[in-house]
Amino acid sequence: MSGREDILGGIRKALKRGPLDAAAAAVLDARLAAPARNLIPARATSLDHPGQVELFVAMAEEVQTTVDRVAALADVPQAVAAYLASENLPADLVASPDPVLDDIPWAERPMLRLRRGKAEGGDKVGLTPAFAAVAETGTLMLISGPQNPTTINFLPDTHIVVLRADQIVASYEDGWTLLRQRQAAAGDAALPRTVNFITGPSRTGDIEQRMQLGAHGPRRLHIVLVGDGAAERPAGERPG
């Protein structure tokens, strides 16, 4: 007997039943097709959107993410240049080929040199957009795709994320809902290979339980937060 049949048979024997009948399976299928939310803490869901933006910033800063707030996408190049200068970092960046970043007037800061593509071992600074962000714990939600290679999130020492305030949602569940909406809109192929929830820069406590930043992933996580989120999100993008 194959391992598969053996294991499944063993489970059924232990549960004192055979394979689920069609009716029982249909009930479970239905549950999977329309996943129910479990208890979600009120910490973020009880706030209005401006409150969620404030909570996101506070929670992110608590875990050593730095956050710079700017009014508009047009302000991003200046903010990025200023951040790199303040940290004494090079102005060469590897950036996602995501068209979202094309809306930013990079040419206004010719000192910033953006290479678009996946990250390589030598890249020092990476720049990406985010798919969403979760106020509850100051967590970024990034997804992989042809325009969003995952390596940028991990290989460079510094990760800069351009996030619009209206992308901030209350909970991870809101993030899943956005992901499912995206998948439904684009067809099956849209479930990304990788979803990264990122909460602060890389760290380890493995030596004497003392926290050090920059274990293997980025030493610095910097968010350029655009706008105040006051503009309504398009109705179709609203979570749950």
Partner: protein
């Protein structure tokens, strides 16, 4: 690894006498409790979430076959493959076959307790494949050729000086005179050394904190980002997971994740929580070309429907370990196998046999702290007691101890005889012990008096004094 759980008592003596270990344990154990407590206090819903976690896991176990089949269907749909493995041997062979298919020379590894359980590193080395542990703690202990001492902090039994020593003797390409005093420097050195290994590896192996049936995804949680580099850069990503890691939906996984970091490290959320579904998609610029899930049973399915089923809820957060006074005293290696502390004392007898690991469920005071912090409310003391029942049934406990127990039970069910005999014994003890108030040693009580005095009894038993009082009352 070969279990040494049968030598638990000797392991304990060694651990208690190891001054360096005791210093490291003292340093490490101080932080866990307060960090968890403040994270829990910050989330008013935490207790309700524990109940949710328990419910989700229980409901999943009731339909485990369905969810595993659904998981496999979805993994396949996204281009991955599930390998069903009954035993550690089958799991090792499945990993080897995948590695051989691309003629792999080196394999990077994220932290995986299943890899420890199936002793994967030794096996890969025997087959001329070099495994490289990338979690800093795992890397340190790999260099030291020792097993992890803790589920989430594998090198927590070491002081930084010991880490410096092993780095100096292993990283011979670096300047031998360099300073390795600061943990910061040690971290940076490991980062420098491991980065090219991440880039060069042919295969990346990670564990899984959850498998999601709905999407066919695996989820890993790390703080270092090593798991992400491990699973993104090589051509092949292999996930090692035992079958009880399955949850139905992303929402269910999310509830587990809310419990996990707070219970483990006291973090609100781990730095990196990563969901992976299949290999890279068409057009993706990076990510693995193959995605394999090694689904290990190793006796777990046989725990369903038994008194040990609740253990299958375990999410490996280590809260029980971090709050265990026995573990705090002796550390992880004393337990003699992969899983230490209370969860190990329940799981290890199942995985390596109760004859080998019989000490573990006995080495507990049943103080209950483990159960009180368990994020999915596993009744750990109750299950340790179940192991004691199995041992008793199989007559595995020492004969004198069993005799003592039977004698006590014989007396305890004969109150008159009990009162007569104990009354005499206590009066004798009281007479001898009255002046000093306690005994430095007592015949047949060496286990007690070897480490503490035995306070002397007052004299007459309560029952005899009470009878007298009642008589006097009646006579008035």
């Amino acid at each position: 690894m070969q279990p040494t759980s049968h030598a638990f008592k000797a392991n304990v003596d060694k651990a208690l006498g190891d001054a360096t270990l005791q210093t490291a344990l003292g340093l490490a154990m101080l932080g866990f409790g307060p960090k968890r407590r403040s994270a829990v206090e910050r989330l008013p819903e935490f207790e309700a979430l524990r109940e949710e976690g328990r419910r989700i896991k229980n409901q999943t176990l009731e339909h485990l076959d369905y969810y595993l089949e659904t998981f496999e269907r979805n993994v396949t749909r996204w281009g991955g493959k599930v390998h069903w493995c009954r035993t550690p041997g089958e799991a090792r062979e499945a990993v080897l076959a995948i590695c051989r298919s691309v003629d792999a020379k080196t394999v990077t590894k994220g932290k995986s307790m299943i890899a420890e359980e199936i002793a994967l590193n030794d096996f890969l080395e025997e087959n001329k494949i070099t495994p490289v542990e990338t979690d800093l703690g795992e890397y340190i202990i790999q260099l030291r050729h020792e097993p992890p001492s803790h589920l989430i902090a594998p090198a927590f039994h070491l002081l930084k000086e010991q880490v410096a020593d092993v780095f100096r003797s292993s990283h011979t390409e670096l300047d031998p005179a360099r300073s390795l005093v600061e943990p910061r420097v040690l971290c940076d050195e490991a980062r420098e050394i491991l980065r090219p290994k991440f880039l060069a590896a042919d295969v990346g192996i990670t564990g899984a904190n959850c498998l999601v049936a709905e999407t066919g995804s695996s989820i890993i949680v790390t703080n270092e980002g090593n798991g992400d580099l491990t699973q993104t850069l090589p051509k092949i990503h292999i996930v090692l997971a035992s079958l009880e890691k399955i949850v139905p939906t992303l929402e269910d996984a999310t509830t587990i994740l809310r419990l996990l970091a707070r219970s483990a490290t006291g973090q609100e959320f781990s730095t990196y929580t990563t969901m992976s579904t299949g290999p890279r998609r068409d057009g993706d610029l990076d990510g693995p070309e193959q995605y394999h899930v090694i689904l290990l049973d190793n006796g777990r399915s046989a725990m369903l429907g038994t008194e040990f089923q609740d253990m299958l809820r375990c999410i490996r957060c280590a809260a029980c370990i971090n709050h265990c006074p026995v573990f705090s005293a002796v550390g992880g290696h004393a337990y003699g196998w992969v899983y230490p502390g209370p969860m190990g004392s329940v799981l290890t007898p199942k995985l390596v046999g109760v004859a080998e690991a019989g000490h573990l469920p006995n080495a507990s005071t049943f103080c209950g702290r483990c159960e009180s912090v368990c994020p999915v409310k596993i009744p750990l003391p109750k299950m340790m007691r179940h192991w004691r029942e199995r041992e008793f049934e199989q007559k595995l406990s020492p004969a004198p101890y069993r005799f003592g127990l039977s004698a006590w039970a014989f007396l305890a069910t004969r109150p008159a005889l009990y009162q007569a005999l104990t009354g005499v014994a206590m009066r004798v003890l009281a007479a001898f012990g009255k002046r000093r108030g306690h005994f430095r040693s007592l015949p047949l009580a060496g286990g007690w008096t070897s480490v503490r005095d035995m306070p002397a009894p007052q004299g007459r038993s309560f029952q005899s004094l009470w009878a007298e009082r009642q008589k006097a009352k009646a006579g008035r």
